[in-house]
């Protein structure tokens, strides 16, 4: 069968000794920068680009890809241990992952995150191998109209996210949408609410907002409580997930993997949606949704799997169409072109050992990550033994350096400070910041795509229901609305949400 031939070809490339080494270097660097708050894979890949000139194309791409998914692994470690999300994807991991850590279950949380990511990585590798061509065709069918409908669906999922009152989380989504409009309006080029500050013209960066509202606000609130000596158990039994944990996490992993694989293919909006959607789904199918936000292991497994699967399938548009799904994939194109390879559909046929080698290396890379990360769980957990009075100044500093490094400007550090104060206020009045972050990420795209769709259709709103994919997506939204508003569901929601 052709599939096996291809995978075999890929494995024979990926398993060459030097490619294994570059893969290892990539995932180790990736894990390290993922653990450090704020330092993302994009600047790291840019930094390493010149060093890849001398490598064979496959080796360089294998290493750069390793940095990318390695960073996803590392990011969840920081999110679980100290509640600092370095990327959009790890916000969701904070919700239940950090809660588990607070309850002394950091070990199982970290282990489940690693296992879920490995599982998703394995499945996503097969998905890429089998489905990349049809999925790429699907991604091309997504125009502004379909994106708008998909984003509407994503925002509705956000309402299910929060574990407080529905009204409050809706209000937070709107607040996020509002701060998402800050900056130069893509459609008209007009600056909005920038108050004459040039640094605001590209909008608020996600990282300082997330680190301020989650990381720093949490530190401030923690310091108000007298220090509780956390009993950190180093017994092996408490570090590994129990059989019950695995049983609870496994279905979530499977669901998360499929959500992530599907959404990751979509250029643009794809990156933020998988973990959020997976979390919402887990909460929806759970027998007892009230456990979410209080350390539910499915709340770690689902989003982590979705996140990793999405990270890998986002390579599909790049490998099959030469179209970058996000800023990082654009960098990968840069790397390819430096090697004298013009990205595009012909790469698949002209350089099969390159494409399949990279795909197969994702699997070997994920295996390496699992092997590296599982023994490290004990080490990470023992980090919590550092007294909080020493741990927190270090976290504050790393947050500062990380936000500074995003665009090498102090402005983002000030922005993080402002968000920390607002986040502290939110803790005091008891509202969850997660829906706000989703609104912030999706809001600008929602508006951009809506207005672009209207411009292209000459102001005719019927395109949203006459185009089939969009109609289906909006139909799901309508069903969700009806389900939410129907009295029976309302009652169970109330019970579920009463705390």
């Amino acid at each position: 069968m052709e599939l096996f031939d291809n995978l075999f070809l890929g494995l024979s490339t990926a398993l060459q000794f030097n490619n294994l080494i570059y893969c290892l270097i990539g995932v180790v660097i990736g894990t390290a920068i993922g653990v450090l708050p704020g330092i993302g894979p994009i600047p790291t890949v840019a930094l390493l680009l010149p060093f890849t000139f001398g490598l064979a194309p496959a080796s360089s791409l294998i290493m750069l890809a390793g940095i990318f998914y390695g960073a996803q692994y590392g990011g969840s470690t920081t999110a679980i241990l100290v509640n600092v999300p370095g990327e959009t994807s790890s916000v969701v991991t904070c919700l239940d992952g950090h809660e588990m850590a607070k309850r002394g279950r950091a070990g199982p949380a970290l282990a489940i995150a690693a296992i879920s990511s490995f599982f998703a990585g394995t499945v996503a590798t097969v998905v890429i191998a089998v489905l990349s061509l049809p999925l790429a065709a699907l991604a091309l069918k997504f125009t502004a109209v379909e994106y708008f409908s998909l984003l509407v669906l994503g925002l509705f999922a956000a309402v299910i996210l929060a574990h407080g009152s529905v009204a409050k989380s809706l209000a937070m989504v709107f607040l996020g949408l509002l701060i998402g409009t800050v900056g130069i309006d893509v459609n008209s080029g007009v600056a909005r609410m920038t108050f004459g500050i040039p640094a605001l013209s590209d909008g608020l960066d996600f990282v300082p907002v997330a680190m301020g509202m989650f990381g720093l606000a949490e530190i401030i609130a923690n310091l108000e409580r007298p220090e509780v000596r956390q009993v950190v158990s180093q017994k092996l039994r408490d570090l590994v997930p129990s059989r019950a944990d695995l049983k609870a996490a496994f279905p979530a992993m499977v669901r998360g993997t499929f959500i992530g694989s599907a959404l990751g293919v979509l250029p643009g909006g794809g990156a933020a949606l998988p973990p959020f959607t997976a979390y919402a789904l887990e909460k929806k199918v759970a027998k007892d949704p009230s456990r979410f936000g209080k350390g539910a292991i499915e709340g770690v497994a689902g989003p982590e799997a979705a996140n990793n699967a999405g990270a890998q399938t986002s390579f599909i548009p790049l490998l099959t169409l030469g179209i970058p799904a996000n800023a990082l994939m654009a960098l990968m194109i840069g790397a390819l072109m430096m090697q004298g390879i013009q990205p595009g559909p012909q790469v698949m046929t002209e350089q099969p050992e390159l494409v399949w080698g990279v795909i197969a290396s994702m699997w070997t890379g994920n295996l390496m990550l699992l092997i590296i990360n599982l023994p490290l769980v004990g080490l990470w957990v023992s980090m919590l033994k550092i007294p909080y009075r020493l741990l927190f100044p270090a976290i504050v500093l790393f947050c500062c350096i990380g936000t500074y490094g995003i665009s090498n400007s102090a402005f983002n550090v000030w922005l993080m400070l402002g968000c920390a104060v607002v986040g502290y206020f939110f803790i005091k009045v008891g509202v969850e910041p997660a829906p706000l972050l989703l609104g912030l990420v999706l809001g600008p795209q929602l508006e951009e795509n809506f207005r672009r769709a209207m411009q292209l259709s000459d102001g005719d709103p019927s395109v949203f229901v006459t185009r089939p994919i969009s109609a289906v997506l909006l139909g799901i939204v309508a069903l969700m609305l009806i389900a939410m508003l129907s009295p029976a569901v309302l009652k169970t929601r109330k019970e579920a949400l009463a705390e």
């Binding site: 840019a46 680009l49 000139f53 130069i184 080029g189 004459g196 040039p198 013209s201 250029p267 004298g340």
Partner: protein, 325 residues
């Protein structure tokens, strides 16, 4: 428009390039040198800066670091260089076309392009490719113009942002050809290319680096290219000049600049080193892979390029009433 002047400038560039290295070693560098790239990593400017940095480091005997300062269409990074110490240790590498339109697009710009920045030299020119989605029934310029005239409003030109050079180019083309097409803004050139490949919009004018692969793969149909000659990769696609289109020299002009009031001998030293680097075969090969050609030249040539284009692009911006503020 200012075609003749620009051609003269380009000729001057090539001529002066040969004379420049004699100024070298006039100045020493005591601290690390920064090359500020006012865009996110991965773009043409960024890649060029990262290519040049190690060579420049060898030449001046100091570390050379590339610093990305994205934001506000390149103005945040340019402003940082404009306000740095005027000693030639802070450099700016960017598409100087963006610098040329900045004064007309942003009336309250925080720096003066002509006075606060000192040109060091041109680095490369990358031509634009005008291409359409295969659903558009046109294979060359005359068919495209005829189609546009017969079907007003059917063509939607994707650009990489309001006020971006390819937006202004599209506006100017429409004006000069007397056609009406929609200008649809996207966030960057990659998103715009994607939209034209998927058929959401159907025309694109964009740097050859990003767009050429789609044309060679037949995902897009090449209509015309800017620059003096046809592209080696697209021998059948006519140039703007052959097709009697205006704006033959539209494209990406990547230039190196430093802080205004930097002593001329420091600028001369930097210019000499830059031109030596651009003469290296490996650098020339890498620049060719970016879809461009190296353009060594003098600081003065860059200066006159800026002066000319600040005016000519500015006229287009004002005539079309493109605003970002």
């Amino acid at each position: 428009m200012t075609l003749r002047l620009l051609k003269a400038a380009a000729a001057a560039l090539t001529l002066c390039g040969a004379l420049a290295p004699s100024f070298a070693h006039a100045q020493n560098f005591e601290r690390p040198v920064r090359i500020v790239v006012p865009f996110a990593p991965g773009g043409t400017s960024d890649i060029l800066a990262r290519l040049i940095a190690p060579k420049l480091s060898e030449a001046v005997g100091q570390p050379v670091v590339v610093e990305n300062k994205p934001g506000a269409a390149g103005n945040i990074g340019a402003d940082a260089v404009a306000k740095a110490r005027p000693d030639g240790h802070t450099l700016l590498l960017m598409d100087i076309g963006s610098l040329a339109v900045a004064p007309s697009l942003f009336p309250d710009l925080s720096y003066n392009v002509e006075n606060d920045l000192a040109p060091v030299g041109m680095v490369m020119f990358g031509p634009y490719v005008l291409a359409v989605n295969p659903s558009v029934p046109a294979k060359n310029v005359s068919e495209l113009v005829a189609y546009a005239k017969a079907n007003p409003g059917k063509l939607a030109v994707a650009n990489s942002g309001v006020g971006a050079l390819n937006h202004i180019t599209a506006v100017a083309l429409a004006r000069d050809l007397g056609i009406g097409w929609k200008n649809v803004p996207y966030k960057g050139g990659a998103a715009a290319s994607r939209a034209v490949v998927s058929g959401e919009s159907n025309v694109i004018i964009n740097g050859a680096t990003a767009t050429l692969p789609f044309v060679t793969n037949k995902q897009l149909v090449g209509i015309a290219v800017t620059g003096e000659e046809r592209l080696a990769a697209l021998p059948d696609v006519e140039t703007f000049k052959e097709a009697k289109l205006p704006l033959n020299d539209a494209g990406t002009w990547q230039g190196l600049l430093t802080t205004g009031k930097t002593p001329p001998e420091v600028v001369a030293r930097l210019n000499g080193e830059l031109n030596k680097i651009l003469a290296l075969p490996e650098i020339q090969a890498k620049i060719a892979e970016q879809g461009g050609s190296p353009r060594p030249g003098t600081p003065e040539a860059v200066k006159s390029w800026l002066v000319t284009n600040i005016k000519s692009w500015g006229d287009i911006v004002r005539a079309a009433d493109i605003k970002t503020n």
